[in-house]
């Protein structure tokens, strides 16, 4: 009697067992394919798009970041929606910079779709053009994905550092870089009007004290309460229209964030409750701030 034949290996669905980092790699490839099919140009940023050596070995990403060519954002969002992706947060509610919308897919997880990269005062068109100049295809999931050149990648990482309190990227993205490379990054930052956030990332923000957006970058780099954030955004808003937008967003409940907190679309009653709580939080922070500034009565 013949031996049993060798069993044929099987291919199993992996949506629940695939490690997050591997899923992010595949998601980059998926997003790239959707962009190509819809005639959209974009650049992959951070995570597996970063050149080896600019981030610590073993660095893990939890989502995909892409920067869409200006003018193609709406088309790309429509393409994502047509492939089963769902909006998780919108451009105007994602952050103080209104720079990205977040989308989610049950297989691929989250992608941050950037309309612009926070930091430069240059136009999104100028920034995208500069980031694209030395771009090249980086294989991610064995799929060619366009990424910025080395100097732009370093600036992207440093501008991201400027928006948080962590220094994790500074060692590899800045300190170990040659003087020539550092000068190239500074030159690009100057060209794009990103000197202030670059200084914030590198710990030299005080060189820019007195500039309108100083408080905003100080808040992001050092942290603080929500009132600090709104005050910083108010100071950074340079036009009456921008200040009106800050006031409106300060008082408005972020429905995208509320939906994520609740795990379902908020009902009108839930929005009202959140609105009251939000105003209460702002009010208590204001009272605390005022109390801190009141002169203390000297003990008799």
């Amino acid at each position: 009697m013949a031996d049993d034949p060798e069993p044929v290996p099987v291919v199993e669905p992996a949506s629940t067992t695939i490690p997050l980092n591997a899923r992010v790699h595949l998601a980059h490839a998926v997003v790239q394919r959707i962009a190509e099919d819809s005639g959209v140009s974009l650049l992959h940023l951070k995570g597996p798009a970063v050149l080896r050596g600019l981030r610590p070995p073993g660095w893990r990403s939890s989502d995909v970041d892409v920067l869409v060519r200006p003018g193609q954002f709406t088309r790309f969002e429509a393409a994502l929606g047509g492939h089963g992706w769902e909006p998780s947060s919108h451009l105007e509610t994602g952050s103080a910079f209104a720079h990205a919308a977040n989308w989610w897919h049950p297989y691929w997880g989250y992608v941050d779709v950037h309309a612009h990269w926070p930091g430069p005062t240059a136009s999104p068109e100028q920034v995208y053009a500069a980031f694209s100049e030395d771009s090249f295809d980086q294989p991610i999931g064995h799929t060619p994905c366009p990424v910025p050149g080395r100097t732009a990648q370093i600036l992207v990482l440093l501008l991201h550092t400027a928006r948080g309190t962590s220094d994790a990227d500074l060692e590899l993205a800045w300190r170990v870089q040659s003087e020539e490379q550092q000068q190239a990054v500074v030159k690009l930052a100057v060209r794009l009007g990103a000197q202030l956030p670059l200084a914030a990332a590198l710990g030299a923000l005080d060189d820019h004290r007195g500039e309108s957006s100083y408080a905003l970058w100080h808040y992001y780099r050092q942290g603080g309460g929500r009132l600090d954030e709104w005050r910083a955004r108010w100071r950074a808003a340079e036009t009456p229209a921008a200040r009106i937008r800050v006031l409106a967003s300060a008082a408005r409940v972020n429905r995208d964030h509320l939906r994520m907190e609740l795990g379902h679309p908020p009902s009108p009653a839930e929005v009202r409750r959140a609105q009251v709580a939000r105003i209460g939080r702002l009010g208590s922070e204001t009272r605390r701030l005022v109390a801190d500034r009141l002169p203390r009565r000297r003990p008799r």
């Binding site: 060798e6 069993p7 044929v8 290996p9 291919v11 490690p19 595949l26 394919r33």
Partner: protein, 100 residues
């Protein structure tokens, strides 16, 4: 006589666990852009890697035998069946050329 060469199909993304720093004999594959993500374990992992590195059936069988520490004759049928399955699912492509 024709020679069949197998390859990862265009529009298919894949990641080896080793690339993620994971000590696992598995990889993750997806047709773009719809998916779903698929998990290939052990023998399936070995055949996929062998296909990505080489091309002809003989080469794939030989490389799979190395990776799985098997005798090529013992695994040839299973490898051929698995490759046919990959082609049917659109995960692999096969080209036939006349042997010189």
């Amino acid at each position: 006589m024709t020679v069949e060469r197998y390859a990862v199909a265009p529009g298919v993304a894949w990641v080896d666990a080793d690339e993620m720093g994971l000590d696992r004999t598995e990889l993750y594959v997806a047709r773009l852009p719809a998916g779903p993500p698929l998990l290939l374990i052990d023998a399936a992992w070995a055949i996929w890697l062998a296909m990505a590195e080489t091309g002809t059936m003989a080469e794939i069988v030989a490389r799979t035998a190395e990776l799985t520490e098997s005798a090529p004759d013992d695994i040839e049928t299973a490898v051929a069946d698995f490759l046919d399955g990959l082609v049917r699912q659109g995960l692999a492509s096969v080209t036939r050329t006349a042997e010189e």
